[in-house]
């Protein structure tokens, strides 16, 4: 069932405000009842959470509240404004807003940038265009309907008259502001000229010439550089450290112990070393001797043993539909298999860093590559006792987020060090700091059992999920919704959960949960279809043809994405060469429907992923290049991450750099072909949805090519190399 969602614009109760700036520019602002008080709205004193400014030279500036981490929002947003305002998109630029409460949510996460910005951007662009058109019509004394706008000008076709927007700003500012409900918003792919085309990123010129766009590129007069040594065992405290000795080393200006807290998401205990250059701080660190006090000794070996023991227990029932035991008794066939994936790190190419300056006035200023600067500010305020309104956060370009920078440890460390030193300080973590002090995607074990009836249909599904938690509650990134498919697609369904206690920091990792467990589900579906003697595509299309109770996902859109990926890959239509195999998988998360088909060639246990065909339905595509980039990158990320594993010993991460945790290289990367279904649904984001189904599509292709079923990640645990 597909649902159109245009009416959302009305539901959100948007308000427009149009004003003239001293520069002569026209400013269009948008606010929402959700962010504003009734008194502010009544008095007209409300502050907009998005601005579009039409300048006297005809250029257009939008203030973007969302940081850019490579998800392409800084290019997609001005494209939407340009489309609705009818100006050349190259005349629309983005001003990066600092953290400011009036902008509402300022987060890179949840694939929400596009859906959150979609209405505001269209409203602002359309309102400005309608006002400028009305201004021209009034000047000419002709009906508005005769005055289309194009390329930054209003035209009157009959008379051949035209007026550039910049000549109409003052007149437009004096006209009544249209109600949002009166705006004719473009919403369907058929309406678009610019949207859906291939547009290179607006920051590309700066990137290809090496301009200092990133957090670590921040340079301030008199700035010092810092490193921060923490205990390898998570949460370890400093008993003593030779800071007096370190302070006398070349270039070092400060060395001190930070007591910190025992909350792993906040300021951890450690030793700060500050120097004139980062290299001198890091060199001094090699002379640092710290005696740590540690409290626990989590290890991968101990987790494995506990998981083994728990697998023999029943676990807590999170959901039970029908009667699985009875269904197994009457099933024609029963299939059982267990899947395991390890902890993995985020491994942003730009290791965590933050620059901070504590002014004598008591004001703190930061330059942070943060996915959630508001959360960082709150933590700093709490930890340092500085009121939030005295903390100013500048948002820099982010050298990779993937969820890691939703945590604020690096921000609070920089703030603390800056306050102690009273100097501008840039804290730069090493790669080793970054990999050993991550908030890891948690490991899990999935024990599956499925019953198949005479017709080859899956009639029962029992799932024992063994995950991680603290005090019996799953930790961040370790939960599984009881409503997740195949719940609702199988008449008899049971989900059981057991929890292993952990002291390891965990957190959101690109498409949290989905990017891990989709692989287990879709691998097991492959096994069930294989046991039933059914074609993999036909089995899944059949699974998606019927729900029991509320469907766990939109069956039509999921099937549509799967079908187009399979069609483009020639599923069932072409003869594969020897040692080649095709595999497929579907998924839905964060509003996006993405399926993949992978083709693998095997040479013994060594495989190469040749190509991946992706079927994607995220509603209308805004920037075809940016959207394809997210899909292509996610496929590579999936294959790369399937080779990675973080293990623990003595309460610490074992791996520390690319030497023992290699990322995929270009010679291992597949070709990727994206096929978008340009539906009329409201657009959803694409940072997360393409990754989940990529891993199982590849692994299912490995099975088709080699006969080896990958039930344990990384691939090396299943005897497969890439």
């Amino acid at each position: 069932m597909s649902i159109r969602a245009d009416s959302k614009v009305m539901d959100r109760r948007a308000f427009l405000k149009v004003s003239m700036l001293a520069s002569g520019a026209l400013l269009v602002g948008i606010g929402h009842t959700g962010n504003l008080s009734a008194a502010e709205i009544a008095a007209g004193t409300w502050k907009a959470n998005l601005y579009v400014r039409i300048n006297v030279d005809g250029t257009v500036t939008i203030v973007s509240k969302n940081p850019e981490a490579g998800q392409g929002v800084k290019t997609a947003f001005p494209m939407v404004v340009a489309e609705c305002l009818n100006v050349d998109w190259k005349n629309v630029s983005v001003e990066q807003a600092p953290l400011d409460d009036r902008y509402g949510r300022q987060v890179v996460g949840g694939s929400r940038g596009t859906p959150d910005g979609w209405d505001d951007l269209r409203i602002a662009g359309t309102a400005a265009c309608q006002m400028l058109t009305a201004a021209a019509a009034r000047e000419w004394g002709v009906p508005v309907a005769e005055c289309p706008a194009k390329d930054g000008a209003v035209l009157h076709t009959a008379s051949g008259e035209s007026r550039r927007f910049e000549t109409l700003l003052e007149i437009a500012a004096g006209l009544p502001v249209p109600a949002v409900s009166e705006l004719r918003l473009k919403s369907r792919p058929a309406d678009f000229e610019l949207l859906g085309t291939y547009v290179p990123g607006v920051d590309n010129p700066g990137i290809v010439t090496g301009q200092g766009l990133f957090g670590c590129d921040t340079r301030i007069e008199g700035m010092l550089y810092a490193v921060f040594e923490k205990c390898a065992t998570f949460g370890g405290r400093v008993r003593k450290a030779n800071v007096e000795q370190v302070r006398n080393l070349p270039g070092v200006t400060h060395a001190f112990v930070v007591d910190g807290t025992d909350n792993l998401t906040e300021l951890l205990p450690g030793v700060a070393i500050v120097a004139r250059t980062w290299w001198e701080a890091q060199s001094a660190r090699k002379q640092l001797k710290v005696e740590w006090e540690t409290g626990h000794s989590d290890s991968t070996a101990a987790y494995d043993a506990q998981a083994q023991a728990l697998s023999k227990q029943h676990g807590d029932i999170l959901r039970a539909d029908g009667n699985v035991e009875k269904a197994f008794d009457s099933a024609k066939q029963v299939v059982e298999a267990s899947y395991y994936y390890p902890f993995v790190s985020h491994t942003n190419m730009e290791p965590q860093n933050c620059t901070a300056l504590y002014h004598e006035s008591g004001k703190l200023e930061l330059w942070a590559p943060s996915q959630n600067p508001k959360g960082g500010r709150a933590l700093i305020s709490r930890t340092l006792g500085i009121p939030e309104d005295r903390i100013h956060v500048n948002l820099t370009r982010i050298g990779g987020g993937f969820g890691r920078r939703l945590r604020h440890d690096f921000m609070v460390e920089a703030a603390w060090i800056a306050k102690v030193t009273g100097r501008p300080v840039q804290l730069q973590w090493t790669r080793e700091d970054d990999m050993r002090h991550d908030f890891y995607r948690p490991a899990a074990w999935h024990h599956f059992k499925a019953g198949i009836d005479e017709g080859g249909r899956m009639t029962a599904f029992d799932h024992h999920f063994i995950t991680f938690g603290v005090n019996g509650e799953t930790v961040s990134g370790a939960g599984l919704s009881p409503d997740h498919y195949p719940a609702g697609l199988v008449p008899n369904f049971r989900l059981r959960q057991s929890i292993i206690e952990t002291h390891v920091p965990t957190g959101p990792w690109r498409s949290p949960g989905h990017s891990a467990y989709c692989w287990a589900y879709q691998g097991f579906f492959d096994e069930v279809a294989h046991a039933a003697g059914r074609d993999q595509l036909e089995f899944r299309m059949n699974l998606l043809s019927k729900s029991y109770g509320k469907p766990p996902l939109d069956l039509e859109r999921t099937s549509g994405a799967l079908k187009i990926a399979a069609d483009k890959a020639g599923w069932g239509q072409r003869r594969l060469e020897a040692n080649h195999g095709l595999g497929l998988a579907f998924h839905y998360d964060h509003g996006g429907f993405v399926s993949h088909v992978a083709e693998v060639v095997a040479d013994g246990s060594n495989i190469r992923v040749l190509k991946v065909w992706s079927g994607i339905d995220v509603g209308p595509v805004i920037n075809l290049s940016g959207a394809s980039n997210q899909v292509e990158g996610a496929v590579v990320d999936a294959l790369s991450t399937a080779q990675m594993e973080i293990t623990f010993a003595n309460g610490a991460a074992v791996q520390s750099n690319f030497s023992d945790q290699p990322l995929l290289r270009i010679n291992q990367a597949p070709e990727i072909e994206c096929h978008f279904i340009q539906s009329d649904n409201s657009p959803s984001g694409l940072g997360e949805p393409p990754i989940a189904a990529a891993t199982p599509a590849i692994c299912n292709a490995v099975f088709a090519a080699t006969g080896t079923r990958i039930r344990q990640l990384p691939f090396s645990r299943s005897g497969i190399s890439v």
């Binding site: 090496g210 982010i398 790669r431 496929v635």
Partner: protein
Amino acid sequence: MSKVTLKINGETHELDVPQDMPLLWALRDKLDLVGTKYSCGIGVCGTCTVLVNGTPMRSCVMPAVTMASMDITTIEGLDPAGNHPVQKAWNEVDVPQCGYCQGGQILTASALLERNSNPTDEDIDAAMSGVLCRCGTYHRIRKAIKLAAKNTAGTGGAA
């Protein structure tokens, strides 16, 4: 501290640096040339790549004091206007996602095209496999290198 004279992007710089300071940190912290990025610090990821006498080298593991008399090109110096064929192709194909590793990718690609004006996929994989990209832009790196090669064909080289 040791004195060293470095020739970077055609300009001469007199520097006073610790004996073991890698070129990367001399560039970033002494000269504020921040286009060259830190990522692994052990010479395995290629993010910090610079050209030394035209050859891609890892600036994070080469002491600055050993680089006197060498011709060093950083991403800022390839073509500050961004008109090098590789830079133009990178923009047109829209290779970057986060962009952090791209300076190293672009310099490595420009060195490849200097010695091989028409590289095959295998040539590209061999030349580029030392530079990691976490965003997974490899597919477009191949495309962009081929586009740069095509756009320079008949003009006597990539730069």
